[in-house]
Symmetry: C2
Subunit: 424 residues, 2 copies
Amino acid sequence: MQGAILAVGNELIRGQVFNTTSFWAARELLACGYTIKEILTVPDEKDLIIKRLKEFLEAYNFCLVSGGLGPTTDDITNEAVAAALGRPLVVNEEMVRRIKEREQALNIPHNPLRLRMAELPEGAVLLTNERAMAGYYLKIGEKILFCLPGVPQEFRHLLKTRVLALLEDFLPPSEVIRHRLFKFFGLREADINLKLKEIEDAFPEVSLGYYPVLPEIHVSVLVKAANEQKADEIFSLVRERLEREFGVYIFGYDDDLLEAVIGRLLLERHETLAVAESCTGGLIASRITRIPGSSAYFERGVVTYSNQAKKEILGVPEEALQKYGAVSEPVALAMAEGVRRLARTDYGLSVTGIAGPTGGSPEKPVGTVWIGFSCKEGTVARCFLFPGDRHMVQAYAAETALDWLRRYLRYGTLVPRYQFTCRG
Amino acid sequence: MQGAILAVGNELIRGQVFNTTSFWAARELLACGYTIKEILTVPDEKDLIIKRLKEFLEAYNFCLVSGGLGPTTDDITNEAVAAALGRPLVVNEEMVRRIKEREQALNIPHNPLRLRMAELPEGAVLLTNERAMAGYYLKIGEKILFCLPGVPQEFRHLLKTRVLALLEDFLPPSEVIRHRLFKFFGLREADINLKLKEIEDAFPEVSLGYYPVLPEIHVSVLVKAANEQKADEIFSLVRERLEREFGVYIFGYDDDLLEAVIGRLLLERHETLAVAESCTGGLIASRITRIPGSSAYFERGVVTYSNQAKKEILGVPEEALQKYGAVSEPVALAMAEGVRRLARTDYGLSVTGIAGPTGGSPEKPVGTVWIGFSCKEGTVARCFLFPGDRHMVQAYAAETALDWLRRYLRYGTLVPRYQFTCRG
């Protein structure tokens, strides 16, 4: 079952708004067994829309159009669809009622122009009775055309709640799909790629996608099979294989965030955390606290950017700063141990490094970062040399610190092995 | 001068990687006077690529193809381009040399498959001599076709450094374009929209785009004129009008970040900053420290998530916490004043609030946030009620605190007026 997506809008084609919604839709559709063959963005130009719509309906089983359903004169999707299908525009009384109701509810004067939104191609069936701008679908023989509002939230809501179900009714997929994202951290690209190739060669039903979303690596597993049982069976085999090969490096699946995984582990264990950051500048604390409920396990964070702050807030000894410098093992240890002791938490994490672009030296080049980890077993620190620009060094440092805690919580590893570890 | 963009790749059409690069390119091209009429994404399928390429080269002055230039059997762009143009594939000796050099430099064994990358359509001119995967262009009569690598960084680099200059040489734009993004914070949508409509009605050469990138609002100003002088003249008039109407609410232009604007102002004044955060959880410190050189003006941040931390690190009186609660004027004042005093900085910012989803009450619903500002003139605090979910409340709170500092640095306003201010 193949389809195309046509997104209409001057703001999209001008690059003023990036059309990410169509790509999100393609991913959702694929997970339900529908293959998208073309994703096209065009301006608010009737002739072009008509031309491409005709082609897509000719070539594919279904088509999704987004945008251009509003009341202004720029909004020409309804007219273009009617013209492409050779059907007249007909006033939809249900839409008229909703538009008038909405004007009354919002206490805005009736504007007859708004009724343009109610002139839909003959045969249009509204997708929902919840909203004024509902979107609609049209059956054209065996094929189906969906017209959805361009506003991302509305589009996503209707796709999830209505479009996927209608597709399944009208165009049941010929294959069963299983799709999952495996999220990795801490492995080299080459280490992963070689194994993935082996898995793909072993299972012809499986497509693996390798996506560096640095500092993480995401691997998408797509299984296509003739029936549910076969799909589940193959998916399980691939999953077991991935977990056997990569085990501790897989921190989560699909929408999992590393900071949310850590949060769940800390909650389960009724344990608490404090962090002391220098070069990551609050990034770790900020990631932890974007998770709802993090106040149950996150006690405090300090961003000790200056040496003075390291001494005053964390009790880092002046001597260590003088003798070894702020980016050093003794300072990382003192920060992790200090923040854990002062906050009376189960864990303390610390980061001190040179994010760049300036501040590097031959002995401590940009990217040099010491990370400290403190728990009841003791306090340890390791040196890393992270690649990339300031943002990338900060992102790698924060991710490594958070993953270190995950590895300890999950496997009890006091000093995990990581990519980019250096002698320090 | 009109063009189309064709992005090739299974990972794109499956929605595993969102194709934002094409939209970025459309924006860059528009700013140079080139209009994109279609942005199409297709899978690695030769026949479909050939068909659309032919159409685009027929309909438009130029076409940009991205992706599919690599060495694997999936990479079929070169073959498709050759077939679409009816030209043979020819071995490009320069490419062969670069591939072999790269193999030697990386010390990897020679793989003859990699030489597929050197088989280019007859007439292809390499875009750069810096890299192995160079991209190329082809002249077809008056028209021009660019083939670029799909890797976003490579694509962007080549577009900026080579493609725009070549287009200007071969297809000089017929109109002069001025394009600028104006970045607003702190105004209501309705306040902006009405004025924009007036401006657009007054200047037929101007298209204004209104884009809520919450909590900011971005307004794009696009001027098309027959010559440079006219374009600059109209752009100046619109700019003056916008600055007269909205003045203090415009914090920057184009790629400006609010935290970078503040950084420049603090540097100019040789002044320093410390922040004390509760519900924003390090977001403010993290935004400030992502700017290179921020250590010159940022002394420390503290994320006092627990009441204990507020007392211990900032000296917030136990009494204030007991009597008024952590989300209150006295606590916001004590945090801002405390962090400024302890860090001995010129400015102190504080945020304490209820980001949700839990923790709200009838008197202090989710979204209630107190922000404190401390400077040599004194310490003040104001209460806000921000809309949206946890992330949005955190984003609004951080943005408001940062903008408050900007308004003071730029205009000396001790207590600026903001949207979402409440009685508290």
